[in-house]
């Protein structure tokens, strides 16, 4: 037995050593960068991206060789975790400001880009939100974002509405009044693919919480000035419950897969659709197949806006949305000197004006972080134009709950929003559980 144990350990060590040895790197005049990219290579626009984004960079920078690895969805995150565990993170990587990229930020595996951004005066060209260190999980600027994400879009289907003689609702009470009319004609009022718990929290409740709690409410909670049992927060939760009670949202939405939302909405099942701004890309023409869920000539019947004015007592303001720093690019913290400069050059290109304009056109981003890109000059489809115009539909931005709060803190909210829909928890229960989770979390910090 002993022998075998020794053998096993020896084998383990050899394997580990080999792994460590292969992690080392040499530097030359010609800089080589290992890049991990998040992209579905079979998606619309992927082929075009190769030319516009990557080949163009190679041609402009003959001294930098880019070795790109493309990953998508869960495998992307698993790869990042895997590389982080083995200490073999790539030089440049796609990342999120929090969520599953949290480890990269909190463990300082990403380079602080703050000094470089200041040196190159990025504030001249970029929206201030993407340069704000407090917007990222590590409290420093671990990545440069290519856009700002609005997590709420409220899409009105005028084909359905005009069929029953209605126009898009401007206030919540108008919305409630439309429910019986739509129902009589066999339509749902709002379609929302709520099966995954994050959807309600991210795409609707964060906006609602902002409107009931006021701007900067997360700071009050984190500092202890207010807590989740605050009557305003309970009222915000209660509003979601009211939506179910009023029939504006149907319980069946809790059984709709996130992937099914656009398909169902495009076949006129409902008058309105709620999702994040990134989802508009699902309706437009897929460049590789030429097929669109909603064809461009139909798209003019769809109006994109933010959730209507909530005209119930307790709301502090309307015309607001929940915004968060979008995805972007970060640099391995270990990089120094020439390699760091090369990596920074690449990052600035990847979130630069040309690439952002390209992504805007393909639907990859909807609200670029580069200031002053001219939307009108781009060949956009009607729904994309509607989306580009989204920022004119609201005046205030509040946070998305899964940004500033830890996983263990927002999980009770995510689950609770569903539980309220089913009727197993009340707003006060959810608030209480969330506060307990926050207290517990604070103890571990």
């Amino acid at each position: 037995m002993k022998k075998i144990l020794v053998l096993t350990l020896a084998a383990l060590m050899v394997v580990t050593l080999v792994a460590c040895a292969s992690g080392g790197s040499g530097s030359n005049k010609k800089v080589e960068l290992r890049v991990l990219h998040y992209i579905d290579m079979s998606s619309a626009g992927a082929a075009e991206e190769l030319d516009v984004v990557w080949k163009a960079f190679d041609e402009a920078h003959p001294n930098i060789t880019v070795n790109r690895e493309d990953e998508f969805n869960d495998p992307f995150h698993d790869s990042v975790d895997a590389y982080a565990a083995a200490g073999t993170l790539p030089d440049v990587m796609y990342c999120w400001p929090s969520g599953r990229s949290t480890t990269l930020h909190t463990q300082k595996l990403l380079k602080d880009l703050g000094p470089l951004a200041a040196r190159d005066n990025l504030s001249n060209n970029y929206s201030s939100i993407v340069l704000d260190p407090s917007q990222q999980a590590g409290g420093y600027m671990g990545m440069l974002a290519q856009g700002i994400t609005s997590t709420n879009t409220f899409i009105a289907n005028k084909e359905v509405l005009s069929a029953v003689g209605l126009t898009p609702a401007k206030t919540y009470s108008e919305l409630v009044a439309q429910v019986p009319v739509l129902k009589a004609a066999g339509y749902e009022t709002i379609l929302m693919p709520n099966k995954d718990t994050w959807v309600m929290q991210s795409c609707l409740f964060s906006l609602v919480a902002g409107r009931f709690m006021g701007e900067g409410w997360e700071q009050d909670i984190l500092s202890g000035a207010r807590d989740f049992n605050d009557p305003d927060f309970v009222a915000a939760l209660n509003f979601i419950k009211t939506m179910y009670d009023d029939g504006v949202l149907e319980q069946s939405s809790l059984a709709i897969d996130y992937g099914d939302g656009p398909g169902l909405f495009s076949t006129n099942k409902a008058a309105y659709y709620i999702d994040g701004d990134w989802r508009v890309g699902a309706f437009i023409t897929d460049a590789s197949t030429g097929v669109a869920l909603i064809t461009p000539d139909r798209q003019t019947n769809f109006e994109i806006s933010v959730f209507p004015d909530i005209d119930v007592p307790g709301v502090k303001f309307n015309r607001s949305n929940s915004d968060i720093v979008g995805t972007g690019w970060g640099i391995n913290a270990k990089l120094e000197g020439d390699k760091l400069e090369a990596a920074w050059t690449l990052v600035k290109w990847l979130v630069g004006k040309e690439v952002q304009t390209f992504r805007l056109r393909t639907g990859g981003i909807s609200n670029p972080s580069w200031k002053g890109i001219d939307f009108n000059s781009l060949p956009l489809e009607p729904m994309q134009k509607e989306l580009a115009n989204l920022s004119s539909k609201y005046d205030k931005s509040t946070i998305v709950i899964d940004g500033p709060f830890a996983d263990v803190v927002y999980t009770p909210i995510n689950d609770g929003l569903q539980a309220m829909g089913i009727g197993t928890q009340t707003a006060a229960d959810v608030a209480k559980l969330t506060q307990e989770a926050l207290d517990n979390w604070k103890k571990t910090q």
């Binding site: 037995m1 969805n73 495998p75 992307f76 790869s79 076949t267």
Partner: protein, 289 residues
């Protein structure tokens, strides 16, 4: 007498009808969802969403199959997943059968005190759940530098197939191969290894077939490790292709049902071809403590 016999025939007849109805009902319940699934693969997404889910395809659409087999949403096409599935199952089955037979022979017929401990370790492994080793395995595979390689998938697969294999082989060799036979081979001058190759391994054919079948279905259907230990589509096998449609990325039902159908057709064919061996293998694999 004749009256009684007559009555018995009628009663038996009624019984028989009732029993056949029960069996028929269960059979229908068991296979209807699968038939339904196969039928849906001949509808387009639009047709599936807008027509009755119980209806047969009004127009039989065959376009889903070539689309999925070659590409359509899966960067290397379904054929690549199929190829990987074949590679993983073939190598895993071969390795598990060979290693389990070897260890089984040693445990059953060569007396050492350590056998009890080692054999016991394998038995514990039968009831362990794979989730409880996910994180360490993930970390180890990464540290070893074999993340996202075929080797990084195969080693865990073989390791996970071994507990059942060692249990079955040890049991079979202990009870099924008489000591006298091995003794006489030894007297003829054959070493343990020669005896294994010439006598034990060939005699273990029945248990090897059972083990191969259990390992084959287990490996073919494995999902969670595959999903975690590979990145990208290059080294993924069939269940991982299906896993892509679980949860949040489904969107196209035509594609979804075709992927599902393509995934079950090979295993169904395998099952129908070897149904007797498979059901026998399952009965034999039901482990006693």
């Amino acid at each position: 007498m004749t009256n009684k016999k007559y009555k018995e025939i009628i009663v038996n007849g009624i019984y028989r009808v009732i029993l056949y109805i029960i069996l028929g009902l269960f059979t229908f319940l068991a296979i209807y969802p699968i038939l339904w699934l196969l039928l849906q693969s001949f509808k387009t997404n639009q047709v599936y969403l807008t027509t009755n889910k119980l209806s047969l395809p009004a127009v039989w659409y065959f376009g889903n199959y070539p689309r999925i087999w070659n590409n359509a949403g899966l960067s290397d096409g379904f054929s690549n997943f199929f190829k990987n599935s074949l590679i993983y199952t073939t190598i895993t089955v071969t390795a598990v059968v060979l290693f389990a037979n070897m260890a089984g022979y040693a445990f059953a017929k060569i007396q050492y005190r350590i056998t009890k401990l080692l054999h016991g370790l394998f038995i514990v492994g039968i009831l362990l759940t794979i989730q409880s080793i996910l994180i360490p395995l993930f970390l180890m595979i990464n540290s070893a530098g074999i993340f996202n390689t075929r080797l990084g998938i195969l080693i865990p697969y073989i390791g996970l197939g071994l507990p059942m294999g060692v249990y079955l082989c040890t049991d079979f060799i202990k009870k099924g191969i008489p000591n006298e036979l091995l003794e006489s081979s030894r007297i003829d001058g054959a070493g343990f290894l020669t005896t294994f190759a010439r006598i034990v391994f060939p005699m273990c054919a029945p248990v090897s077939v059972t083990l191969a079948i259990i390992t084959f279905t287990g490996t073919w259907n494995e999902f969670i490790l595959m999903n975690l230990l590979t990145a990208g589509d290059r080294y993924k096998a069939i269940p991982a292709a299906v896993g892509r449609f679980a949860g949040s990325l489904g969107a196209d039902y035509g594609r979804l049902f075709t992927t599902l159908s393509l995934s079950i057709i090979p295993i169904l064919a395998f099952y129908l071809a070897f149904r007797n061996q498979i059901t026998k293998g399952v009965a034999a694999g039901a482990v006693k403590g």
